[in-house]
């Protein structure tokens, strides 16, 4: 049977991708950030997943305003990196896992989560930056990836509670898949950041530290936090943190925290990173 073994949370700031692609990871500005991912890079060598279920948001790349799915699951064979205005990132194409993706789609829709099926789409920095942070710059990504896009661009995004409950349904779906697969669920985006308006640059360390603690210890309570708290406290783009709740919902109630990292800044953003394994 397939099983979910671990969850990874990480920010997915586009400038991190640019720093990797342009060979700037050793610069004074970037070195402290990449140091925070060294543990994860070593850990994932030992705990190599067969499939990563990667929760991210599309930033007006695959989805324009013509189509805004709240939850979209990538069921295709392959996904190419998107051109976000400066040409596609020089990273490998992402190999999908259609068998498991379609299985999850069928299972969670029957559990009342109405997903949109996407067979063809490009994937932007929201998906490729986490892969780069965890796997570096290989010629091909070392595992299959199921892209799972959440709308956090058009208000309202799904609630933290909805995301948390969806994570539980995804776990049930994975555990009913016959093939013996090691599956990790990654939740990406955040932490506090605001990219727009006179309040741009907002960073709320206290909120972020509390979120990092509660998502480990008290996810049920954290799930109840309303949108307005994310937006007010963590910035208009800090709302991306609801995506971490899908990852957390897919894990056991009790988890072992292997790694925690927090760093300010990456461009406009506070970077948070967790590695959690089912205990």
């Amino acid at each position: 049977m397939a099983r979910i073994t671990a969850g990874v949370a990480t920010s997915h700031v586009p400038a991190i991708g640019a720093a990797i692609d342009l060979g700037k990871t050793g610069d004074d500005y970037w070195a402290p950030l990449f140091k925070g991912y060294e543990f994860g890079r070593k850990w994932i060598e030992q705990s190599r997943p067969d499939v990563v279920f990667l929760v991210y948001n599309d930033h007006a790349s695959a989805f324009g305003m013509d189509l805004v799915p709240t939850f979209a699951i990538g069921c295709g064979d392959e996904f190419e990196p998107a051109d976000e205005g400066w040409g596609p990132r020089p990273v490998p194409n992402v190999e999908g896992c259609p068998e498991l993706a379609w299985h999850i789609m069928q299972s969670v829709i029957q559990d009342d989560f109405d997903l949109t099926v996407v067979n063809e789409m490009t994937v932007d920095h929201g998906l490729t930056v986490p892969l780069s942070l965890m796997f570096g710059q290989p010629a091909a990504w070392p595992c299959k990836v199921i892209p799972f896009a959440v709308n956090v661009v058009v208000y309202p995004p799904p609630s933290g509670q909805r995301c948390y409950n969806l994570g539980k349904a995804i776990r049930k779906a994975v555990e009913s898949f016959d093939e013996d697969l090691n599956v990790q669920v990654w939740g990406t985006g955040g932490m506090s950041h605001q990219l727009q308006g006179p309040r741009a640059g907002l960073i709320n360390r206290e909120f972020d530290r509390d979120f990092l603690q509660r998502i480990v210890e008290d996810p049920e309570g954290l799930a109840k936090m309303p949108h307005i708290d994310y937006v007010r406290q963590a910035g208009s783009e800090g709302i991306e943190l609801v995506m971490w709740m899908i990852m957390r919902g897919a894990l056991n109630e009790h988890v072992n925290e292997l790694h925690r990292f927090y760093h300010v800044p990456a461009s406009n953003t506070a970077v948070g990173h967790l590695i959690l394994v089912n205990s």
Binding site: Y155, L195, L202, E206, R232, N268
Partner: protein, 129 residues
């Protein structure tokens, strides 16, 4: 009944909600077109002519031509879509955000390196720093 907007008392922030999404539909779809290299080249060759192909109001067009990001966001533009425009200009998110806060890129970067904009005084209108 009007849409509930509990976020209207947050200072310096435009939430891209249903009203803004309707108002800015063609602005954002124009930005989306810039994800294709050939469109970026056409736009750069004659910005005004390229914009005239879209159902965008004169006020919105002027804000786009001026790269007045706060203005265009107040008229329905969304920052992730506008990112295609400032990327076309060769600008980063950091540079664009600096322009929205009225400081230079260096000043903005220094603020971020110093831990970012403090939440203190920036969570409710009337308390801005």
């Amino acid at each position: 009944m009007a849409l509930d907007k509990p976020y209207e008392d947050i200072p310096g922030t435009i939430i891209f909600d249903a009203d803004m999404a309707r108002r800015g539909y063609y602005v954002n779809q124009f930005c989306m077109s810039l994800t294709k290299r050939e469109n970026r080249e056409k736009f750069k060759a004659d910005e005004r002519a390229y914009l005239d192909n879209w159902k965008i109001s004169e006020e919105q067009k002027q804000a786009l031509l001026d790269r007045d990001y706060n203005r265009i966001m107040s008229l329905g533009g969304n920052v992730y879509f506008l990112a295609k425009l400032f990327s076309t200009d060769g600008q980063s998110f950091e540079q664009a955000a600096a322009s929205m806060t009225g400081v230079t890129r260096e000043e903005y970067r220094a603020m971020m390196l110093g831990g970012g904009r403090s939440p203190e005084g920036n969570l409710y209108k009337g308390q801005e720093d």
